[in-house]
Symmetry: C2
Subunit: 201 residues, 2 copies
């Protein structure tokens, strides 16, 4: 029997995608589940709801609780935490580079390092130098990736992933979708999503 | 040393308050923590955000996921689930009766039965007969409670709880607040809130 697979749909500007990205592989591996890393853009989905920025900015009390909760969550995981300014960060270049990388471990490694830079160190992930330094640390030559990130093919794939996310009912990130289309939203649902994927059908 | 206490702030129209109400006592008891049951109204807080109904209605994809997630959550807990129509229910009378009841076990018992009626059986909790039947089943004479629910004193206490909730930064329900003012939001944070309450200060 083939290994069950879940789609991990994440947005680089999304706060709770940080802890989820850092732990989904371990949770999935323990259950014998494979993870497809699928970066997408929340902007077009939020725009349809009439939002021009993160709901965490639109509802200040919700935002205050989120930052405090993220601080508690990352502390419990032993992860660094530093709030980036501005929030949300422009995530387009990071999403395009992640899309350009093959999903063979390199996309996951890059994505986790982007989250650590953004929410662990408070760095600007819209800065090509920040992203280039991450690629270098991973042993990947930055220049070809930056070029690929600007290609029509990568833009198209990222747009298709975002359209697919919308079609699957996504309204936030991170979200996890199982092969049978079950949608789980948030860092708090990583375990349930992985368990769902291993259910006998 | 006095037993640590958490404030459990709940709204009868709130979907995730149902599973939280059903399990918070067991979680708290296992940790040696007492629970204060504090019903409040989300309406005035949502109104300040410019919302005229539940965000689950305003963002249809978010609402679809919530109903499905609540179905999964209640199934995992062995609780009945039935979606009430309309949603949200008018929760004012239930909140006033709960406020009128003493927080000595009777308020908790009534509140849990209201949630079971609403989200387990899909009953209208704005119906005085539904609420009266619950009181009767609990061995409480309904008539004096219905009268007390309409008193200025009860209205004032409920308003004060709602004002206090807002002052503590609440933006949704259920929320749990510890004695040192730490705010935890959602059924997913029951364990963390209770653990926080037992931390040495």
């Amino acid at each position: 029997m083939a290994m069950p697979v879940v789609d991990f749909l994440y947005e680089f500007a999304s706060t709770y995608s940080y802890p989820a990205a850092m732990r989904i592989e371990a949770v999935a591996e323990a259950a014998g589940v494979a993870v497809r890393w699928r970066p997408f853009l929340l902007g077009p989905i939020f725009a349809e709801a009439g939002w021009t920025t993160s709901p965490f900015n639109l509802i200040p009390a919700k935002g205050r609780n989120m930052w405090r909760d993220l601080e508690r969550t990352t502390a419990a995981m032993g992860l660094p935490f530093r709030r980036p300014d501005p929030f949300p960060q422009n995530s387009l270049l990071a999403a395009r580079i992640a899309t350009a990388l093959p999903d063979d471990g390199r996309r996951a490694a890059f994505s986790k390092e982007v989250y650590r830079a953004e929410f662990g160190e408070g760095l600007a992930i819209s800065d090509p130098e920040v992203l280039g330094a991450i690629l270098k640390r991973l042993g990947i030559e930055p220049a070809p990736l930056i070029v690929a990130a600007g290609s029509d093919q990568v833009k198209q794939v990222l747009r298709a992933t975002t359209d697919d996310a919308k079609a699957k009912g996504l309204f936030g990130a991170p979200s996890i979708v199982t092969a049978d289309g079950e949608l789980f939203w948030g860092n708090d649902r990583v375990e349930q999503a992985v368990a769902w994927a291993t259910k006998p059908t």
